[in-house]
Symmetry: C2
Subunit: 480 residues, 2 copies
C-alpha cells in the first residue's frame, strides 16, 4: 500500500498534454473527491469539503450583511407542486429523480427529489406573505440537489447530485428585485476574485440560455484552460412568473393586492472544479490563500540526534503564526519530509515552511511558495511579515494570471469562418455581434458546439452569422 501510495503521489500527466486526465488525477489524488458506487454521484473527500466550507463561510458573511437568512426546505417535492409553473416544469422534469415508494408502499403521488427549490419554497412563501410589511423576504438554503444527468459525468463539474446554495427573495417592486439580482451577481463576482482568485465574464444570458421560468438570467463564467466556459454562478430575475403560479400576493402600501417580484441565485460545488482547472499545474492543485483550508504547512526535517530541537523550533513557529493563519505542523513520524513536500504540493497549500537542524540553530526557516515554486530563507524575526506579504502576493498573483488569461482568451472576430476556427482549434472564446435571432445562435451551436455565454455589451455591427444589423455583442464558447 505504501508503495502504491508513493506512485499515486503526484500527477502522472501534464496539464497541457492531457487536460482531462490531468483534471481527474488532481481531483482524486489530492483527496478532493472520489467516485462512488452510485453511478454519476461523487464523494466529496475531506480536503474538497474543507474548501467548500471556506466558500460557505465567505458567502454566509455576505448573505448576513444583505439581510439574507438561512433556512431549510424539504428535499422531496410533490409532483403537483413541481408542475405549477409551466416553463419551469418543462425545463426540469426531464432530469428529475422520482421517489415512488415509501417503506413497502407505493406512494399516491410521486415525489421529486429537488432539482432546485423554487416550487416548494414558493408554495410556502404564499402562506407567509400577506402585506408589504412581510417584504422583502430573503431566504437562502445550503442543500443537496439531484438532476438526473444523461450526459457523461465529471467530478465536481457534472454529477447527478451536487451541493449548492440557493437564495430566494421576494420584493414589493420590480426595481427592488432587479437591484437584488445585480447585487448577488456582484457578490459572486467578488467571491470569484477575492476568494477564488478567478477572473470572470459577467452579464445577462440570451433567452435561449435563461433559467426555466425566469424573466432573465445573469451569470458569471470563467474560461477554462481548454477554452470552454464554466458557469460559476447565476442570479435570476423571476419577475412575477412564479408569484402568479404560486399565488404570492401582498397588500401594498396603497392597500392594493399585488403579485410579488422574485429573484433566485446560486453557486455550487462546481466552483471547486473551477479552482482546480484555473490554478492547478503539473504538480497538482494550487490554492489561493483565501480559500485554502491550510495556508501554511510546517514540515520539520529531523535526524535522530536533533529531533527534539527541530520539533521544538517548529512548534515555536507554529504558535507564532497560528492565531493569524490556518497553520498545520506536519509532525507525522510515518512519512519522510520528501513525501510530505509532495503531498502538500499536490494538495496546493500556498506556503510551506521547511525546518531542519540548521534552521533551528540559526533561527531561520526556508519558505516555499506553491504558485511560483520559489524558495526563500527567512529569519525568525521577519517571518510573520514575510508570510503576510507572500500570502497577499500569491492571492494577487493568481488573480492577475487568471485575469490575463481571460483577457487573452476572448477573441473578437470579423467573420464566421474565423469564429469557427477559433472554437474548433480551442484558441479562445469568441466575441461577436448577434442580430437577436435564435436561428443564428442555433447555427453556431450546430456548426461548432459553442453557445452564447453572455451578452457582453451593446453597439452597432453586423451579426457574425447572418450579416444582418446587430446591436448585441455576445461571447460564445463551448461550455461545461
Amino acid at each position: 500500500m505504501e508503495d502504491k501510495r508513493k506512485k499515486d503521489l503526484g500527477v502522472a500527466v501534464k496539464k497541457n498534454e492531457d487536460f482531462s486526465e490531468w483534471y481527474v488525477q488532481v481531483v482524486t489524488r489530492a483527496g478532493l473527491a472520489d467516485y462512488s458506487p452510485v453511478k454519476g454521484c461523487m464523494i466529496i473527500k475531506p480536503w474538497g469539503y474543507a474548501i467548500w466550507e471556506k466558500i460557505q463561510q465567505y458567502l454566509n458573511k455576505k448573505f448576513k450583511e444583505k439581510g439574507v437568512s438561512n433556512a431549510y426546505f424539504p428535499l422531496l417535492i410533490p409532483k403537483s407542486i413541481l408542475e405549477k409553473e409551466q416553463e419551469h416544469v418543462e425545463g426540469f422534469v426531464p432530469e428529475v429523480a422520482w421517489v415512488t415508494r415509501g417503506g413497502e408502499k407505493e406512494l399516491e403521488e410521486p415525489l421529486a427529489v429537488r432539482p432546485t427549490s423554487e416550487t416548494i419554497m414558493y408554495a410556502t412563501f404564499s402562506k407567509w406573505i400577506r402585506s408589504h410589511r412581510d417584504l422583502p423576504l430573503k431566504i437562502n438554503q445550503w442543500a443537496n440537489v439531484v438532476r438526473w444527468e444523461t450526459k457523461s459525468t465529471k467530478l465536481f463539474l457534472r454529477t447527478r447530485e451536487f451541493l449548492w446554495q440557493e437564495g430566494h427573495t421576494v420584493h414589493e417592486t420590480k426595481e427592488e428585485a432587479e437591484v437584488m439580482v445585480k447585487e448577488m451577481l456582484d457578490t459572486y463576482e467578488e467571491m470569484a476574485k477575492d476568494l477564488l482568485a478567478i477572473a470572470v465574464i459577467k452579464g445577462k444570458k440570451t433567452d435561449s440560455e435563461k433559467f426555466a421560468g425566469a424573466d432573465y438570467t445573469t451569470t458569471i463564467e470563467g474560461i477554462m484552460p481548454d477554452m470552454k466556459a464554466l458557469q460559476m454562478g447565476t442570479s435570476h430575475m423571476l419577475g412575477q412568473n412564479f408569484a402568479k403560479a404560486y399565488d404570492i400576493k401582498f397588500l401594498s402600501r396603497d392597500e392594493k393586492e399585488q403579485y410579488a417580484w422574485q429573484t433566485s441565485w446560486g453557486v455550487s460545488t462546481r466552483l471547486i472544479g473551477a479552482l482546480i482547472m484555473v490554478h492547478g499545474d503539473d504538480y497538482g492543485l494550487v490554492l489561493p490563500p483565501a480559500v485554502a483550508p491550510v495556508q501554511v504547512v510546517i514540515v520539520p526535517i529531523w535526524f535522530k540526534n536533533n529531533k527534539e530541537e527541530v520539533l521544538q523550533y517548529a512548534k515555536e513557529i507554529e504558535s507564532l503564526l497560528k492565531d493569524k493563519y490556518e497553520v498545520l505542523l506536519d509532525d507525522r513520524d510515518s512519512h519522510t519530509p520528501g513525501y510530505k513536500f509532495n503531498e502538500w504540493e499536490l494538495k496546493g497549500v500556498p506556503l510551506r515552511i521547511e525546518i531542519g537542524g540548521r534552521e533551528a540553530e540559526s533561527k531561520t526557516s526556508v519558505v516555499f511558495r506553491r504558485d511560483t515554486r520559489e524558495k526563500v530563507t527567512v529569519s525568525l524575526d521577519k517571518l510573520q511579515e514575510i508570510i503576510a506579504s507572500l500570502l497577499t502576493d500569491i492571492q494577487h498573483n493568481l488573480y492577475q494570471k487568471s485575469k490575463q488569461f481571460l483577457e487573452n482568451s476572448i477573441k473578437e472576430v470579423k467573420d464566421y469562418e474565423e469564429l469557427k476556427e477559433i472554437i474548433s482549434l480551442k484558441k479562445g472564446a469568441v466575441k461577436a455581434y448577434w442580430c437577436g435571432e435564435e436561428e443564428c445562435e442555433e447555427r453556431i451551436k450546430e456548426d461548432t458546439g459553442a453557445t452564447p455565454r453572455i451578452i457582453a455589451g451593446k453597439g452597432k455591427g453586423k451579426c457574425v452569422v447572418c450579416g444582418q444589423d446587430a446591436t448585441k455583442i455576445i461571447i460564445y464558447a463551448k461550455a461545461y
Copy 2:
C-alpha cells in the same frame, strides 16, 4: 395581516395545561419551523436554522479537536449496497423511500434515499483502507436523511426528513473503537450541558433497543416535562459487523490481514425539540445563551421628540457589546416597543435591554432576563460586567433547573404496580432491576408503553416484572 400577527404573537395555551398544543404553538409562532406541503416533512425557518448552526459550530470545533474531518457521501444508495449487512437492512428497509425513476426512465436498480450512511460510506472505506497506516479514519457528514415514518409526525421530533450529523470511524483495535464510542457520547453529554443547558441520562441500551447492525448502542436522553424520554444522541459500537459485510480489511502492524473495528454516532435537529420542551414557558421559547442566535436584543423606546437621542444611545450600547456577544438592535419603525418585547420573549432571547429617554439621559438601561423575567436597572459603566454575569447565570440557572427536574423525575420502584402507576400517571421515569430477559421488557412495553431507555447501573436485586434475580438497573420511560 397586522391584526392576525398580533393575535399569533404569543402562546395561547399554558405549558402545563396542554403540553402538546403548547409545543406546536411555540415552534410555529417563534418562527422555528413550519409545516410543509409535503406530508411529514418540515420547513426549518430562519430562527430554528440559526440554532442548528450554533449546534454545528459547537460540534465542528469538538470534531476537529478529535481529528474528525467533514466530508460528503451520496444521498442515494443502490439497493444491493444497502442490503449487505443483514441486521441493518431489516432495521431500516421498512422505512426507506425509494427512487425508482430518473428523468423519463425506470431505473434498473432502485436507489434508497439514505436513512443513514453506514452502507454507502463503508462500501467506499473498503477501497480507502489497506494498511494500519490508513487508520484511524474519522469522517463526519452534515446531511439530510429520510425515514418513511408511518407514526404521526411532530415538528423537529419525528419527521420524514431531518438534518443531522453522522460520524463514522474505523480503527485497528476493539479497544480503540470502544474509547471512541465513549468519547463521542461524552462529547454529546457535554454539548447537552454546556450548549443546550440540558441534563441527561447516559448509558448503554439493552439489545432490543440497539442500532440495527451494532454490537451495542450508547445514548444520552433527556426527560421531557410530560415524562417521556427523548433520545438526544447515540454512539454505536459497530464491532466488526459492517467490516465483514463490506470487506474493510487492513494489514496490521504485525503484517496480518484483519477486519477493522468501527463506530458511528450522531445527533439531529431533534435537539431543537428538546430545547423547546425543556426550557420553554408560557411566554414561549427560553434559549440558553450559549445556543441563542441573538443573546442580547436592544429595544429603543422613543417619542417623536427624542428619537435621535434614544437611537444614538442605543447604538452606543450596541457597539459596547457587539464584539463579545450576539447583539441585535431592533430599530424597526414598523412595530411598537410592546410588540417587540413580546416577539423577542416568544423567540426566547436571553436578555433584553430597554432604552427610553430617561435611560438615555441618565446613561442607564433596563435589563430584562428571559428565564426569570426579572428586570434590573444598570448604569452604563457597569453594563458589560452585568451582561456577562447575567448570561453566565442564565446558562447555569437553566441547567440547574433541568438537572433538578431530571433527578426528581427518576423514581425507584419496588414493585410492578408502582411502575405501572408512575408511567400511566406521567409521574416520572422509572428505575428498576431487570433480569435480562426480553420477555420482561416486552411485558412492560405492552402494559405501559414504556421501553428500557438505558442500563443505568449494576447491582443485585429482583426483576421488577418477574421477580427473578437481576443485576441490571434500567431506566424505563415512554419515548418520543
